[in-house]
């Protein structure tokens, strides 16, 4: 069925009675959620001690803040990983028809890999992958 067809059919269903069950269900859903939230808030016991509010991680004491800044070298490696990872996408079409593409296809891919290796040498020479300071 076409979208336009759907849109043209819409006026025929447009009587108020058809929407009553949906409206009732919406009202009930909203009312139920609201009632439950208010009731649990009012009836539930509250004991706000320090132990209760602490983060619970399988019984191990927490230490440090989760939002400590990471060293920038992780970021650099992550970016380089994304670049080198995504470029592999071009090997899939080649791998599917490498027999049909023959030697010319092989040379093309060789050139592609060659440019890749040049880039890899460049980042090594620039020291982007050196972990120790």
């Amino acid at each position: 069925m076409h979208i336009t067809g759907l849109l043209l059919d819409a006026p025929q269903a447009n009587t108020a009675a058809n929407y009553l069950p949906i409206a009732l269900q919406l009202l009930f859903a909203l009312g139920f959620v609201a009632t439950m939230m208010i009731v649990t808030h009012l009836l539930g016991p509250k004991r706000k001690t320090a132990d209760k509010l602490a983060t619970f991680t399988s019984g191990i004491e927490t230490h440090g803040n989760a939002r400590t800044p990471m060293a920038i070298k992780y970021f650099l490696v992550a970016i380089l990983f994304v670049l080198f990872d995504v470029e592999v996408i071009f090997f899939y079409p080649y791998a599917v028809n490498f027999r049909a593409l023959g030697w010319s296809g092989f040379y093309s891919v060789l050139m592609f890999v060659g440019f890749f290796i040049v880039g890899f040498f460049y980042i090594i020479k620039k020291g982007a992958l050196v972990w120790e300071d």
Partner: protein, 462 residues
């Protein structure tokens, strides 16, 4: 083909020269030599001597127009590197990488001047843009440079998204990315389908973003102002002209005139009017010469849009002439602006006394931008307007453009007035004799082209 492959290889060579060449000042000589090789290889290509024989399946189509524009673009870059190479050296620690990125931008430029497939258009635009995002943000500690880079990046990739949507819709309508197939579909249909028209409109918006035409110009002043001046010079000239060439290749006469569903002439005239209006009027109120030049580049884009409006042979010639005249003059003005200590209008006060030669050449460049006779800029504007008259309609558009050319003279003459008629001590960096000689040569080219525009155009027809 020569220029595409050589520019990519030279970019890689420049990258590695950062590792192997220890002497920093040698880098700009390597880059200039590389550009010279590129220029010669491209001219050889123009005369039928191609170094590479590759079956391209019509993905790229080399014609005289594109190759000739390559020559202009590479030549302008060569002049730019010769004049401002020393300032590129001073702008940061990664000099070799800056030159490498400039070569990659040229690779994108050569793709854009010869694409025959929408895939190549997309790749060319991206190769042109991505290095520029980096160059814009190259002044890492400067918040203005940061801001410019992030704005340019977000706006650039946003417009790329719109362009891709346009390409996808055109593919849906025509079933091909090949430019000639798309054109034949546009030419054959009596009523072109909704998909194709929507796709072409998306492409129009995206390309208007790239060339900073008026409703989509808002990123331009901020980016041009925030980027380091050396790279603004490159962005505002070579890159902008390349985007225009891609624009005119895409919106060929065969695409726009046969699809009667949209009044393309009216659309382009709206773009032109708003670009001229906003560019010129806002430029009048600027206090900094750099920001004034950013708005003036929008106004000049308005004139270049005339080529897209009329889409005849004269328009194509005119676009080449305009690209050459505008690029040379703007590169010259920026080369002087980089040397100035203060880039506001007051900073130029009394430059004619301290540096008479620079003031004189700067005057020639400004006159050329304003379109005063006997400079290249005059004939560039003349060709653009004549191409509109040749189409036989919309003559009021020409009158409008001439009026705004007069407005533009006001803010260009403000700089000349500051240099010659105001008292002050304009502070500049040390000016070497080589730099002065370079400026004189660029000014001479502008005047010679202004007196004999036929020389450059005859070369086009040879």
């Amino acid at each position: 083909m020569n220029a595409i492959i050589l520019s990519a290889v030279l970019g890689v060579v420049m990258m590695f020269s950062s590792v192997f060449v220890k002497n920093k000042s040698a880098l700009k000589h390597i880059a200039a030599a590389g550009l010279l090789v590129l220029l010669i290889a491209n001219i050889a290509d123009t005369y039928g001597c191609s170094l590479f024989k590759i079956d391209l399946h019509n993905m790229l189509r080399f014609d005289k127009f594109g190759l000739f524009f390559n020559t202009i673009g590479i030549g302008a870059t060569l002049i730019y590197v010769v004049l401002s190479g020393r300032d590129i050296e001073k702008s940061g620690n990664y000099v070799a990488e800056y030159f490498a990125l400039i070569f990659f931008v040229l690779c994108g430029l050569t793709l854009l001047t010869s694409f025959g497939n929408l895939l190549m258009l997309f790749i060319g635009i991206e190769i042109l843009s991505i290095p520029l995002y980096i160059l814009t943000g190259s002044d890492k500690r400067n918040l203005k440079s940061n801001e410019a880079a992030i704005k340019y990046f977000l706006m650039g990739s946003f417009s790329t998204g719109i362009m891709l949507m346009g390409i996808a819709l055109i593919y849906g309508g025509t079933g091909s990315f090949q430019l000639e197939v798309v054109r034949s579909v546009f030419a054959s249909y009596k009523g072109v389908s909704f998909l194709e028209i929507a796709g072409l409109l998306f492409l129009l918006v995206a390309m208007a973003f790239k060339v900073s035409a008026a409703p989509f110009h808002f990123w331009t002043p901020d980016v041009y102002d925030g980027a380091p001046s050396v790279f603004t010079s490159f962005m505002a000239t070579v890159v902008k002209a390349a985007a225009f060439v891609a624009f005119i290749r895409l919106f060929d006469a065969r695409v726009t005139e046969t699809s009667a569903a949209v009044d393309w002439k009216m659309l382009f005239s709206i773009l032109i009017i708003s670009t001229l209006l906003i560019g010129n009027i806002t430029a009048v109120f600027q206090q900094s010469v750099k920001r004034m030049l950013a708005y003036s580049s929008i106004a000049q884009a308005g004139f270049m849009l005339f080529a897209l409006f009329s889409l005849n042979d004269m328009a194509k010639e005119g676009l080449l002439l305009y690209a050459a005249a505008y690029s040379l003059a703007t590169i010259g003005i920026f080369a002087i602006l980089i040397k100035m200590k203060d880039v506001s209008f007051e900073g130029y006060n009394g430059l004619a006394k301290t540096q008479p030669l620079l003031a004189a050449t700067n005057t020639i460049f400004l006159l050329s931008l304003a379109g005063i006779p006997l400079t290249a800029g005059f004939f560039a504007k003349y060709y653009m307007l004549a191409s509109v008259i040749k189409t036989g309609s919309y003559t009021w558009l020409v009158i409008f453009a001439v009026l705004f050319a007069a407005v533009s003279a006001y803010y260009y003459f403000r700089v000349i007035q500051a240099m010659y008629f105001k008292n002050g001590e304009a502070q500049t960096d040390t000016i070497t004799p080589g730099f002065k000689a370079g400026m004189v040569i660029v000014a001479a080219i502008i005047v010679i082209v202004g007196i004999l525009p036929q020389t450059i155009l005859n070369w086009f027809y040879f």
